[in-house]
């Protein structure tokens, strides 16, 4: 069965690139630009990995992370956080709140693929 990745990212061209890269490597990718809407979806049907942007228009990525870590069904969900380079305070806060991995933008596609492979396991696709 294909491993599923949810991307919460409000920049459509970034999420489109991520979707393309990850799909090409065999993962099933869902994309959401709406943090609060995605949170409901995550609770109902957690994916194998969440790629979470920090700066979202409706809610902070930290808030989503905090909510996930407070609930049993998502407590152990691997979360790869994305944020702008140089925000050391953000990185520290992400770690404190339980992010599994932290990646700064701009990123290399190969780095993302590698991180997803490590966190979600291989795609499961043949």
């Amino acid at each position: 069965m294909e491993k599923r990745v949810l991307v919460i990212e409000d920049e459509p061209n970034i999420s489109e690139a991520l979707r393309f890269i990850l799909t090409r490597n065999g993962w099933a990718v869902d994309v959401s630009a709406d943090g609060l809407g995605a949170l409901a979806r995550l609770r109902a049907d957690p994916p194998d990995l969440l790629i979470l942007d920090l700066m979202l228009p409706d809610v902070s990525g930290f808030d989503i992370l905090k909510a996930l870590r407070a609930e049993d069904q998502t407590r152990a969900l691997p979360v790869l956080m994305l944020t702008a380079k140089g925000q050391m305070a953000d990185r520290a806060e992400a770690e404190r709140l339980g992010a599994t991995r932290f990646m700064t933008k701009p990123f290399a596609n190969s780095e993302v693929v590698e991180a997803v492979r490590e966190l979600a396991g291989s795609s499961g696709a043949p």
Binding site: N13, F20, I21, F107
Partner: protein, 439 residues
């Protein structure tokens, strides 16, 4: 009073600065050299008439020899001393120093003042770099566009795995992102240009609005003309209101002041002020008007009107529920901080705990040169009540110099902000004072 005893020292210093002999000065003002000698050693009081004559002979304004003129200078020197690990044994001799060496004292006070101004700019720049939403937004836009371009370009570089439709789509994305990148770069350059301009000292829209109102002596005559006012026209094209956010803020305040003017027409309000005195509770009762509207109105009087002058120049400060100051009209001797909150003891903040309850508090500013003020505080809901949102509240405080009272109430010691307040053992202190740190 110790300072008034130093008039003689100042006379001596000024005479020496002019290179005038004691006997010559004595002769020119019609007293004996021995009497002038006693005056100069602060062993005789000097009459106002003689002080005038001496000042004239020294070609300086009379108030240069009085404590009034020295108090600001003395405070400046004291502030300079407190910032450094100055020998505290000499702190008690600051008035003497200021009196004997007014020129040097002036240099020291001005240097101190300049240091404070520069510190404010550094603080503001630092604050901008770390918290400024505009900068964060500009950088976020640029980094997002760069991320997208880099990731998409890398995909296209490996074109074998990308079919023709996707290639077209990714090319379009790159075009779109490069446009966003250009916009972001322009926004960032504009931002940095603004930061480098001389106007840096007046960064926030709120400060621009305050500066605009200060230019008008905090009286918007158009609103009191009794005819409909086009607020948009008043705001557009004003040099002081350079940013659209400033104009928007100015519009909001103008609407509020216009509503106050409608409720409390200036002519009868000024007449009532003369009859009732500066008593906002009586004025509110007389006009059946909200207390905060009266406080705002009292702070927006026509400065030339003799009826307005029956009241000392007021200060006005408004804060929201977070304690953030959203409006400031300064008053001499009662400093209002440019950044951060004010003194938590102000009735402004106490009013937030007791909405709709007018407060009157006699305050004494901290420090040896403390002055008494009366603060009238009042907090009221902002806007109309809604089920879907918590009530927003604003507190307003009018500040007036305290009139002498036969039996003055014990004043509440207050500061401007903790950072510049020397009040020891204050339960409300939130950070150490730079004044106390030196002690």
């Amino acid at each position: 009073m110790y300072r008034s005893q130093l008039t003689g020292t100042r006379i001596r210093a000024r005479r020496n600065m002019r290179g005038m002999r004691q006997a010559d000065l004595a002769r020119s003002v019609g007293v004996s050299p021995s009497f002038l000698n006693l005056i100069e050693h602060n062993r005789r009081k000097v009459s106002p008439a003689l002080l005038e004559a001496i000042a004239e002979a020294l070609a300086i304004p009379a108030d240069a020899l009085t404590e009034e003129a020295d108090s600001r200078l003395t405070e400046g020197v004291r502030a300079a001393a407190l910032r450094t690990a100055a020998d505290l044994a000499e702190m008690d001799r600051i008035e003497e120093f200021t009196g004997r060496f007014p020129g040097w004292a002036q240099v020291l006070a001005e240097t101190q003042s300049r240091v404070e101004r520069l510190e404010r700019v550094v603080e503001q720049l630092s604050d901008r770099m770390t918290h400024d939403p505009q900068l964060r937004e500009a950088l976020h836009a640029i980094i997002s566009a760069v991320t997208s371009v880099q990731s998409t370009a890398a995909i296209l570089n490996d074109a074998e795995g990308v079919d023709a439709d996707w290639q077209v789509r990714f090319h379009e994305n790159i075009l779109e992102d490069s446009g966003r990148l250009a916009e972001g770069a322009v926004a960032l350059v504009n931002y940095l240009d603004a930061a480098n301009s001389e106007d840096m000292g007046r960064a926030a829209p709120q400060e621009e609005v305050e500066a605009w109102l200060a230019q008008r002596d905090f009286h918007v005559a158009e609103l009191d003309a009794g005819t409909p006012v086009d607020i948009e026209r008043m705001v557009v094209g004003q040099v002081e209101l350079s940013a659209s956010a400033s104009r928007s803020l100015a519009r909001d305040w103008m609407r509020r002041f216009a509503a106050d003017a409608h409720r409390l027409p200036m002519e009868p309000f000024l007449d009532a002020l003369v009859e009732e005195g500066p008593a906002p509770d009586r004025l509110a009762a007389r006009f059946d008007a909200p207390f905060d509207a009266v406080l705002r109105r009292m702070a927006m009087l026509p400065p030339e009107d003799p009826r307005a002058r029956t009241m000392p120049q007021p200060g006005l400060v408004v804060c929201d529920m977070s304690g953030t100051l959203v409006f400031r009209r300064s008053i001499e001797g009662f400093a209002l901080p440019r950044f951060g909150g004010g003194c938590p003891l102000w009735p402004l903040y106490q009013a937030l705990r007791q909405p709709l309850q007018p407060l009157r508090v006699t305050m004494m500013t901290a420090g040896r040169m403390g002055r008494r003020f009366v603060g009238y505080g009042y907090a009221a809901p902002l806007g109309s009540a809604r089920f879907d949102m918590p009530a927003a509240m604003q507190a307003t405080m009018l500040v007036l110099p305290a009139e002498p009272e036969p039996e003055p109430a014990r004043p509440l010691p207050v500061g401007a902000s903790c950072r510049t307040c020397a009040q020891a053992e204050c339960p409300a202190r939130r950070e150490p004072s730079i004044l106390m740190a030196a002690e």
